[in-house]
């Protein structure tokens, strides 16, 4: 019997399950290595060379170099591990989370100060909330990238 995945119909959300883990094991373990100051320094001194020490896919390495967290997550990354890259870059959790929405830092911060993203329309794929695929990217940062 296949694993039951009742969470597959939630928009804009990837649950870190066993399949994601298999996909992202080395990507996440690379992130874990950045918890040591000397590794952070080595990574910063030569990102590509550091990544090449890990048995990651080429696409995973490119996603890390691009700091594209949505891409990393599609390739099996988990946000708590990916956060170590952000920490190495001196970025906050809010900057990292916001970067996945296509909003600028200011737009995302304003959304949070105004009470956060509403769950309405964002519970299931097929609804019409702002996290749905048809409404991406959500902000000026994403539109800039598209141009």
């Amino acid at each position: 019997m296949a694993l039951d995945k009742p969470y597959k119909d939630i928009p804009g959300t990837t649950i870190f399950d066993a399949d994601q883990l298999r996909l992202g094991y080395h990507l996440n373990q690379f992130c874990m290595s950045l918890m040591k100051a000397e590794n952070r320094a080595r990574f910063k001194a030569g990102e590509r060379a550091y990544l090449d020490e890990w048995p990651m896919s080429e696409e995973q390495k490119l996603a890390v170099l691009a700091r594209d967290l949505n891409w990393c997550i599609r390739l099996g990354g988990n946000i708590y591990f990916l956060a170590k890259i952000g920490a190495t870059d001196g970025r906050s959790f809010q900057q990292m989370a916001g970067s996945m929405t296509g909003m600028t830092e200011e737009e995302y911060r304003d959304m949070m100060v105004s009470g956060g993203r509403s769950v309405e329309g964002n519970r299931r794929l097929g609804e019409d909330g702002d996290a749905q695929p048809q409404h991406q990217p959500q902000g000026r940062a994403g539109r800039k990238e598209a141009n």
Binding site: P6, Y7, I10, P11, G12, T13, T14, I15, F16, D17, A18, L21, Y25, N28, Q29, C31, M32, L34, M35, K36, A37, R40, L69, N70, I73, N78, I79, Y80, F81, A83, K84, G86, A87, T88, S92, F93, Q94, M96, A97, G98, M100, T101, G102, Y108, M111, M112, V113, G115, G116, R117, S118, V119, N122, R123, R124, A131, P133, Q136, P137, Q138
Partner: protein, 280 residues
């Protein structure tokens, strides 16, 4: 005999720790968050227990993907604040209570909950931010702390029902410890938040407040809520709230006294919720 006197519930947002550590707690953004804990700091000073049993989750800090224990009990004499990538938080070393921890492990494992015994472990913001919120910035924490880490990172996480029943087993274990210790059980994490993907920033004020209501008055029914409801309604990281049910299950079956209740949006990406419940 030891007894559980009270339980504390609080979010453990890393940015709260950063705000404190960098001296930003007086800034307009952070003021309302810390104001919600003013009563709590005084309450804890007046009601300092002998031991805090602190339920939290490790955020890919002590446990990488090599080993992922569902429930891990810290039995060491001390635990170092972890370097999560930003450098370790400048907070005191956490002193454990190896005797009580070993006693709880023995009792709870023999009660059919398969705990992982951990004798060396660094503790991350999940454990140190609640201590900071409740104690401020002391030179040392007010009492020993038993870290109890729950996997809420790798799916599947334990169900609310299992957490609630585990809390009951912890209560039984504490009550059979042969020393007159006052023990508090803290449940941390949550409330609604999502840190990943285009749905990042999700907050569900209504769901959170209903959770607080039910945690106080009807925890048995709340414990039946399935995992998927947390994720759908409170965000992928809102699932941390199952840990609150461990602390609630550790409380007496009689209705508790609500000493304090606080809710605020936002702290960084997260809704902050906080309760103090005393056994009557």
């Amino acid at each position: 005999m030891a007894r559980i006197t009270a339980s504390v519930y609080t979010s453990h947002v890393p940015a709260i720790g950063t705000a404190l550590d960098l001296g930003k707690s007086g800034e307009p953004y952070w003021q309302p968050v810390f104001k919600g804990y003013e009563f709590s700091k005084k309450w804890l000073a007046d009601n300092t227990p002998d031991v805090i049993f602190l339920v939290y989750n490790d955020h890919a800090t002590a446990f990488s993907l090599e080993m992922i224990p569902t429930f891990a009990i810290g039995c060491a004499a001390e635990f170092q604040p972890a370097d999560e990538g930003w450098g370790p938080r400048p907070v005191p070393v956490v002193k454990g209570h190896p005797e009580l921890a070993a006693h709880i492990a023995q009792s709870v494992i023999q009660d059919d909950f398969d705990l992982t015994i951990v004798n060396r472990m660094d503790v991350d913001h999940g454990l140190t931010v609640p201590l900071s919120l409740m104690c401020g910035q002391p030179a040392q924490w007010p009492c020993p702390v038993i870290p109890f880490a729950v996997n809420v990172v790798q799916y599947p996480v334990p169900s609310g029902r299992r957490c609630f029943n585990l809390g009951r087993a912890i209560r039984k274990a504490v009550e059979s410890f042969d020393a007159p210790l006052k023990v508090q059980v803290w449940g941390t994490g949550g409330m609604s938040h999502q840190l990943q993907g285009p749905r990042a920033g999700l907050i569900n004020r209504e769901w959170d407040n209903a959770f607080l209501d039910r945690l106080i008055a009807d925890p048995d029914a709340l414990a039946q809520v399935p995992h998927i409801d947390y994720v759908r309604e409170a965000g992928s990281e809102g699932i941390e709230l199952v840990m609150w049910l461990i602390a609630r299950g550790a409380m007496s079956d009689s209705p508790p006294t609500v000493k304090h209740r606080f809710y605020h949006v936002p702290a960084s990406n997260t809704a902050v919720g906080h309760l103090i419940l005393e056994n009557t």
